[in-house]
């Protein structure tokens, strides 16, 4: 009877409907850094945030690194050259302080989040919510009992100002500004995002969620997230993103750093449905200390180009790292995703399962990096990457880089490419399913075993997003 239970549960599940992302309201901003990137734009951001000198210096230094680094087009797509950094607006905010009740949120912004179903989700299943509108969080609230336990859930400005003893130690350490060109850009102009601290032994049962919304055209969103799970603590963080369909390209370039101290567990879930002109270039990495676990669940639907390779540095004995990733590249989209696992201690295990779907002229690329040096023993990695092509014009590439040395370590790698055949579609249509329904069923089947690992609210939502994508792809 498991199927019935599943069914009932699904009907009760929360509907955060990101398919409804394509709308926008009039723009009016109290804070606007203008168009283009310069030292003075970076200073403007630092100034409106009233930051300490060390952060200002960090930003300026990062800007120099960004300017000095070439575009990684020697290995990545040349589409990156189409990002016009001098046409982008780097900071837009209606205010500097996130409010704590939805009533206080400005009407147009509130309407945006209400249409996306965020307040409703918060009531139903979240431990805390932060809603970011362009550059700044407009709303942030966490359940009181968590506050009493010492959980911190705020933005980077508040985090670095009010709790430097916690956050400064790790800020920019998991992902240094010089890690890559886009990490450097983020480090220069970052605004918004979540800074989270979970005290020793605290297990947060319900997820914390942040919701990122781009509303303005020609805008760059550069949120910065740092999650520190102290010894023996546990937390699940979920992020969702949307933007309306703009005429011009928009940039989203986040940096997410996770720190799981001894025995801690962090699960980071992303379901994003960017509109088709968003460049989504994100750096995500976690550190797992002894016996700790970092798990990335990453679903990339939409965007013009996504480049994202969540990683885990397995720094302590017995640490575990996992990346479960689903990418769906529709017509004209390129999903360049993957995972990195750096084993740096004995008895560490890592697991990567990546599934990609290419529809129409969509292209998906998997890049994986697994590193186990020969000085270590008892390290294991399992990598599976499966690609599904919906028709002849779709494309998929796989670039696994696995460096495993030493006699006492093991690695397992499996890759497959399959296609939804015309016969399969005909068979399903003969049962009464439309072509779109047939394709979405095939795609859902393809990702089925992975979706089971997701928190339920997200698996339902993902299923619906896939359906919408597939229906739209039928001519």
């Amino acid at each position: 009877m498991a199927e019935i239970d599943e069914n009932l549960a699904q009907r009760e599940a929360i509907e955060v409907d990101r398919s409804k992302g394509d709308f926008k309201y009039e723009e009016s901003y109290a804070f606007d850094a203008g168009v283009g990137l310069s030292a003075s734009v970076v200073d403007y951001i630092s100034k409106v945030k009233d930051e300490e000198p060390w952060i200002r210096e960090f930003r300026q230094k990062s800007l120099k690194i960004f300017e000095g680094l070439p575009m990684p087009t020697h290995w990545a797509t040349t589409d990156l050259d189409n990002i016009k950094f001098d046409k982008i607006r780097y900071y837009l905010a209606k205010g500097q302080k996130a409010v704590r009740t939805w009533e206080e949120v400005p009407d147009d912004v509130k309407k945006t989040f209400e249409r996306l179903g965020i307040p409703e989700s918060e009531r139903k299943f979240l431990a805390g919510v932060e809603a970011q509108f362009d550059s700044e969080a407009v709303y942030s609230r966490m359940k009181e009992e968590l506050e009493k336990l010492g959980v911190i859930f705020c933005g980077p400005t508040d985090g670095l100002r009010d709790h430097p003893e916690i956050f400064r130690k790790w800020f920019g350490k998991v992902i240094p500004a010089g890690d890559n060109k886009f990490a450097a850009l983020n480090s220069a102009v970052f605004s918004g995002g979540s800074f989270i601290y979970i005290p020793k032994g605290v297990k947060v049962a319900q997820p914390l969620q942040a919701y990122f919304r781009i509303n303005a055209e020609n805008f760059g969103q550069f949120e910065r997230t740092l999650i520190i799970a102290d010894e023996g603590s546990e937390v699940t963080y979920m992020e969702g993103c949307t933007a309306p369909k703009f005429e011009t390209a928009t940039l989203h370039s986040a940096v997410v750093e996770l720190v799981a101290l001894k025995g801690a567990k962090i699960q980071y879930v992303t379901v994003q449905n960017w509109s088709a002109n968003v460049f989504n270039l994100v750096t995500k990495r976690g550190v797992a200390e002894e016996g700790a676990e970092v798990r990335w669940i990453d679903c990339n639907i939409g965007s013009r180009l996504t480049m994202k390779y969540p990683g885990v540095v397995l720094r302590g004995k017995g640490a575990r790292g996992e990346v479960l990733s689903i990418a769906l590249a529709n017509d004209g989209q390129h999903q360049d995703t993957g995972a990195k696992m750096i084993h740096a201690a004995d008895d560490t295990t890592s697991n990567i399962i990546a599934k990609s779907i290419s529809v129409g002229s969509g292209r998906s690329t998997y890049r994986g990096l697994v590193h186990i040096p020969k000085t270590l023993k008892n390290c294991r990695n399992n990598t599976e990457c499966d690609a599904l092509l919906i028709n002849e014009h779709s494309r998929t590439d796989t670039y696994p880089a696995i460096s495993v040395r030493g006699q006492k370590n093991s690695v397992q790698h499996e890759a497959s490419v399959s296609k939804v055949s015309a016969e399969q579609i005909f068979y399903m249509m003969q049962r009464g399913l439309s072509e779109g329904e047939a394709m979405s069923l095939a795609v859902n089947g393809f990702v089925n075993d992975l979706v089971k690992e997701f928190p339920m609210e997200y698996s339902v939502e993902l299923k619906r997003l896939i359906e919408l994508q597939m229906e739209g792809s039928v001519g």
Binding site: F426, R431, L433
Partner: protein, 252 residues
């Protein structure tokens, strides 16, 4: 004839090759008609053309399902109009469970947004699986993936029983079945016989017709029906062999 599947002067080809040549046949509701004939005579093509398979093109003719033309419609529209095809070689759909597949097919027949009664669905599904002697664990298996020949055919009949079409075309349902499976599958079909359903049973051998006893038997040769008769025709054909068709019937 509103309560029949009426195929008239149907000409269809795959690529440049004509396969169905002025094919005509009427299957009234409540009757079971069998089409027998040697390989390559167009039996399977007939089933695919009726179901709207995109590989085949129709040159002329008509196929009226209770008076409504189904030729030229999309496969899903034909299916929802009430034509079910039990495939000779059903496709695998990895990751999609049988329960979810049949459920999706039922939901596709409902008005958009209509509630789905999961409890009633599973009650019915389990009852029909019991009738087909299928283990309940079957619901959680992926459609046709790793199935034996017999399991595939049972799964086709399960879908038939759940979707309750007006007309069912069974394409070589007996192929790949051992005698026990043949009996179970046939019982499933016989259970569905009644005034609301018409059956077109396509088979190469008379064996299946011992279990699903037809009202009419048609012999197909070179793209059309060359001879029709009662159930005894199948036995005659089995005795005389297809050479009889070639030498006597085809030239007649």
């Amino acid at each position: 004839m509103p309560d029949s599947l009426v195929i008239k002067n149907l000409n269809a080809s795959i690529g440049e090759r004509p396969i169905l040549k002025d094919f005509s046949l009427t299957v009234p509701k409540g009757e079971v008609h069998a089409i027998m004939g040697p390989n390559g005579t167009g039996k399977s093509t007939l089933s695919k053309v009726l179901a709207g398979h995109p590989d085949y093109s129709v040159q002329s003719g008509s196929a009226l399902l209770d008076g409504e033309e189904i030729l030229g419609l999309e496969p899903d529209v034909v299916a929802r109009a009430g034509l079910f095809l039990a495939f000779q070689y059903p496709s695998e759909i990895p990751g999609v469970t049988i329960a979810n597949f049949i459920r999706a097919a039922i939901v596709a027949r409902q008005a958009k947004g209509a509630p789905f009664d999961a409890k009633a669905y599973y009650t019915e599904l389990y009852a029909k699986m019991d009738a087909l002697k299928m283990d309940r664990k079957f619901t959680a298996r992926f459609v046709n993936e790793g199935f034996s020949g017999g399991e595939k055919k049972r799964c086709e009949i399960l879908q038939l029983m759940m979707l309750k079409p007006k007309y069912a075309v069974l394409d070589e349902t007996d192929s790949g079945l051992d005698i026990d499976a043949l009996r179970i599958v046939s019982e499933g079909v016989n259970r569905m016989r009644g005034p609301d359903t018409g059956f077109l049973v396509i088979t190469h051998y008379q064996r299946l017709l011992e279990y699903i006893v037809p009202d009419r038997v048609h012999i197909m040769w070179d793209g059309r029906i060359v001879h029709s008769g009662g159930k005894e025709l199948a036995i005659e054909l089995e005795a005389k062999g297809y050479d009889w068709v070639k030498t006597e019937l085809a030239t007649a």
